[in-house]
């Protein structure tokens, strides 16, 4: 067992925290330094667009306490500090206050930052959502009858539309593509879950592009490329997130040429010695699902990768490839959407239980003779059984037989 100390973790959200926990659970007793850009202790992000926004008295949902972090996990915590440079030869990270941190092992878990519309002006009333401070600012502005335009019908945009609608706002949700969420869930399920917006009374428009955001000092509306103007008090931009890796640009750590994510091998090792990555920043080849590299932005992956990266980093002799069946969930209009696997390359998507257009269904994705993904709406009993099957590389016929009541339908 060889351990290079100290362990430095850049990023104090879910992946970073799980890495620190796993190090201690596994028996690592050397120093751990954890750096977080936000001033807050690690907190849970999924509730921000849901429960947090819905109730103005809700505080951040902290993942751990200060006492647990400092005393039990014995972490040297540097909050409100951003890493701005990495020297892989000197094995040193530079922070924005010019502190230099020497590392034996480095785990990069800096997450992703919301993308802005390139044309967005600097106006009061324009929001993106990533942090609890973003969510608190947005929450203060959405009340009954607020006119909210959400640009981008991905998961964050859709959850915000759902929450704002629940608060009594007049919500318009705009999506530039003809089908939303294609990369995440494929076109069939993308359209299917998007129908929840109309069914719950939100003005939802596909293939709708924004020409410009209008306003003098504060937002007044959105002009579409069609010329139509939508008046708005609040605009939320949910057009995706980019890996927070600009600080690594000249470091020698290999970045993906398209999105700037960190290129890892199957062990979550970056191109630099003793430097690992985990969470939203990391591209890695997921052995289970073919040869291509993937990058996931979901809770399950951030938690699992954080732990896995720490284990592989600290106990290299027993390192294992990180292999996972991706899993994410989302709640819109009080309905639970769940997805396991990867939507592409599907040859077929079949509804095996429930009907398209209703509030309860299961859709399975076939590639060749294998099941590669499952999506459900309000079918919480089924989803993990399909996750198991996908993890076992099960045949399509096994998935068809997983629930006997489906047999009469196919």
């Amino acid at each position: 067992m060889s351990q290079n100390t100290p362990l430095v973790i850049i990023g104090a959200s879910l992946a970073g925290l799980r890495a620190a926990e796993e190090a201690r659970f596994g028996g690592y007793s050397g120093p751990i330094i954890m750096v977080g850009a936000e001033p807050h202790l690690p907190y849970d992000r999924p509730p921000l667009s849901k429960q947090f926004i819905l109730n103005s008295t809700n505080a951040a949902d902290f993942l751990t306490s200060e006492d647990e972090l400092l005393s039990v996990l014995n972490v040297d915590l540097r909050l409100g500090r951003t890493a701005i440079g990495l020297d892989v030869d000197a094995r040193r990270v530079r922070l924005d206050d010019e502190t230099l941190l020497d590392y034996g092992t480095l785990i990069v878990a800096t997450g992703a930052a919301p993308r802005m519309l390139p044309s967005a002006p600097e106006l009061d009333g324009i929001f993106t959502l990533r942090t609890v401070d973003d969510a608190a600012a947005l929450r203060d502005r959405i009340v009954d009858s607020t006119r909210v335009v959400v640009i981008g019908a991905g998961f964050i945009g859709s959850e915000i539309a759902s929450s704002a609608h629940h608060l009594g706002a007049e919500v318009t949700l705009l999506e530039g593509a003809p089908v939303p969420l294609v990369r995440a869930v494929g076109p069939v399920v993308g359209l299917e879950i998007a129908s929840l917006h109309q069914r719950n009374g939100v003005d939802f428009r596909l293939s709708t592009a924004v020409q410009e955001i209008i306003g003098k000092t504060r937002v007044e509306g959105v002009r579409l490329t069609s010329g139509e103007v939508l008046p708005a008090d609040v605009i939320v931009i949910g057009v995706g997130a980019a890996p927070a890796t600009s600080w690594l640009a000249d470091s020698g750590v290999r970045l993906d040429p398209v999105d700037g994510g960190i290129v890892c091998d199957e062990y979550l090792r970056t191109s630099a010695e003793d430097v690992f990555a985990a969470g939203d920043v990391a591209h890695w080849p997921n052995e289970l699902l073919g040869s291509g590299s993937m990058r996931l932005e979901n809770w399950t992956n951030a938690a699992d990768q954080g732990r896995h990266a720490a284990r592989n980093a600290l106990w290299p002799d027993s390192a294992t490839p990180y292999v996972t069946v991706p899993y994410f969930w989302s709640d819109w209009y009080g309905q639970r959407i769940q997805f396991v696997g990867t939507a592409a390359p599907a040859d077929e998507v079949r509804f095996v239980d429930g009907e398209s257009g209703t509030d309860r269904w299961t859709a399975l994705f076939r590639s060749g003779d294998r099941i590669i993904a499952a999506a459900t709406l309000n079918e919480p009993r089924r989803i993990m059984k399909y996750r198991k099957l996908i993890g076992r590389r099960a045949a399509w016929s096994d998935a068809m037989d997983a629930f006997p009541q489906d047999a009469s339908r196919v």
Partner: protein
């Protein structure tokens, strides 16, 4: 060792079932059933992982049940 579910926090996300299917199952209404009350010592690591993996922090372990 025994698993305790905080029903106020659990929303049936199901990661526990994914980690330890012999112990946890989410039902049609999203409520969690603990399938076995006492954790066999051979399964301890798996159940501990399931408890730690809960996104809602709804699971705890009572290591010394009366």
């Amino acid at each position: 060792m025994k698993v305790i579910v905080d029903r106020g926090r659990c929303t049936g996300i199901g990661i526990c079932e994914s980690v330890a299917e012999a112990y946890f199952e989410v039902g049609d209404d999203g409520s969690l059933t603990v399938l076995r009350d006492d954790v066999a010592s051979v399964d301890e690591d798996e159940v501990v992982e399931a408890v730690r993996s809960c996104p809602a922090r709804a699971l705890t372990l009572n290591r010394d049940p009366e």
